[in-house]
Symmetry: C2
Subunit: 331 residues, 2 copies
């Protein structure tokens, strides 16, 4: 796809910007804060910021501080999420709290949070008017609030009886889709896009982000450890209420439900037990159900993206490619 080489160009600029802004003492704090950024990553969110700016008539350059801000904010959420999920690997490297301990990981996340704002405020140096920067800061703040709400819902779902698909969708819209929507919105706002374009970009991303998270759930079950950069079945071990688990628990008989429930969230579960739980999920038809649900959100995202009135046809083309990639990715 055409967007891939452009993505790596944007990625370079965004990384350079981040390394230029996020620096200080003590070194150990900054090393831990930059750990995931140095480990690579798809950088989809900053790409969306840049493409949205171009689609609304802005340049690539004026969107770089905003693109860096969403990547840094995203990285902060990963650091804290990994503590909460007790994840040990991310992007093929040990997680921040595994290397530097939980206390330092909490502070590293907090530091990144502040730097997300500092990056965006730097839009001033690119000649972006104050009112646009302030609106973009508002969008970043809304995303941060919504992501925290979504993360808390994710934590609460396992203790709720009879979780249904609607509760799950509400959770992932907040936890995952909201930041995609704000990533696009921030680019559009910095470029002074009109309200209609901004709303369409956000709506498209809410749907694409939802499909993205559903695919993430599927990949956690059927994906490949190496390309994922983290151990397989970790969602089951952590007791996550993924769409696959929710579907399976609502579908299978009492005996299978009991067996699945006994493994969910058991951090000491053997690989054999995890495989057995995964087999209960797979044989329930949950993967096919999730695939079709993701398809619906994907179709809606693509449909909305088609109706956007773009000032830059190349950017629009790549934006649609990114949407396709987000909803069909296999890593």
């Amino acid at each position: 796809m055409r967007f891939l080489s452009y993505a790596s160009e944007v990625s370079k600029k965004v990384e350079n910007f981040i390394y230029d802004v996020v620096k200080g003492e003590p070194k150990i704090l900054y090393d831990s804060a930059l750990h995931y950024i140095r480990a690579g990553g798809k950088r989809i969110r900053p790409l969306l910021t840049v493409l949205s700016s171009r689609m609304c008539g802005g340049s690539e350059d004026i969107a770089i501080p905003g693109a860096a801000a969403v990547e840094v904010l995203h990285t902060f959420t990963l650091v804290h999420d990994d503590i909460i999920d007790r994840d040990e690997f991310r992007r093929g490297v040990p997680t921040v709290h595994k290397v530097w301990g939980t206390d330092m990981a909490i502070i590293s996340g907090d530091l990144l949070y502040a730097y997300a704002y500092r990056c965006l405020i730097r839009s001033r140096d690119y000649g972006v008017p104050n009112d646009r920067i302030l609106r973009a800061l508002d969008a970043l703040t809304n995303a941060a609030i919504t992501v925290a709400e979504g993360q808390s819902l994710d934590m609460l779902l396992p203790s709720i009886d009879n979780v249904d698909t609607n509760m799950y969708i509400d959770m992932i819209r907040k936890k995952t889709a909201a930041l995609f929507a704000s990533s696009a919105a921030i680019g559009a706002i910095l470029a002074d896009g009109d309200c209609e374009a901004i709303e369409k970009l956000k709506e498209s991303m809410i749907n694409a982000g939802t499909a993205f998270q559903i695919r993430d759930d599927i990949l956690g079950l059927v994906g490949d450890e190496k390309t994922l950069g983290k151990p397989i079945y970790s969602d089951i071990r952590e007791g996550k209420m993924t769409i696959l688990v929710i579907y399976t628990l609502n579908k299978v008989d009492e005996s299978k439900k009991k067996r699945l429930r006994s493994v969910l969230g058991d951090r000491k579960a053997s690989l054999h037990e995890l495989s057995e739980a995964a087999e209960i999920i797979r044989s329930s038809g949950a993967v096919e159900y999730a695939e079709s649900l993701a398809e619906q959100y994907a179709a809606r995202a693509i449909e909305i993206s088609r109706s956007i009135d773009s000032k830059d046809s190349e950017a629009l083309h790549m934006f649609r490619e990114v949407v396709e990639f987000m909803v069909k990715r296999n890593y």
Copy 2:
């Protein structure tokens, strides 16, 4: 002191503003986030924001969103610090992570962080021009970055051999004094104060905040459990490198040093062992040394505050009273 009744007036306005802005779902997340704000507190930082605004010719009202922002940011740091320090009580109530668990406490802090920004951005509703709000956001961000750096230094000091007073002062300037300085700066910026006034307010607060933290260390050793709202000797149990410990370790003979070191950071230390360690500290002259060090910073803070050219003499008078309170408080 005259400022006390005014502090409670400002406190009411700030709390109402916070409760109006910080609301949402799920309830458990918002209850945990608002836990310390509901538990009370001295609200010195928001008072400084309001007084600084008045001293620079602004009104009390235009400073309320900024005052709320610094209080919310301060509360976020308390939630995460308490996790790191394993503190169990704060403001007379169980800490957030003791009531809701560490995972929820991490997210509650993160939520508050974003709300600090939302509060400050609300200055728009009070007619404050965009450029001032953006500069105030910059000051808030600088404070957040500096506090994270200071917090990490606080964590690192116990593992460093021969910590000296300079390293300690650098740490508390960042961990504690920076937010006091930004609290005053934000009020002054929102009121369009001139550069000289802003610099003096900050410099006064860096000194007052330093004295404040030294007094905090002293109170942790000689203070009263009830008025402090937390258990005595917790600094020793947590192995904190307070100015008292640093002085003592550099002063006493090897045998006392060894005994003190064996109790520092031992979370299972008995009350007898803690008292013994406290006695080693007290008999070293550390308290007198710390008192005199605090006095020097206090004197400098007061001296600078005297040179500020204020547009509101009542506000200046109260500002000086607050400085005196900060550096002489016994709770």
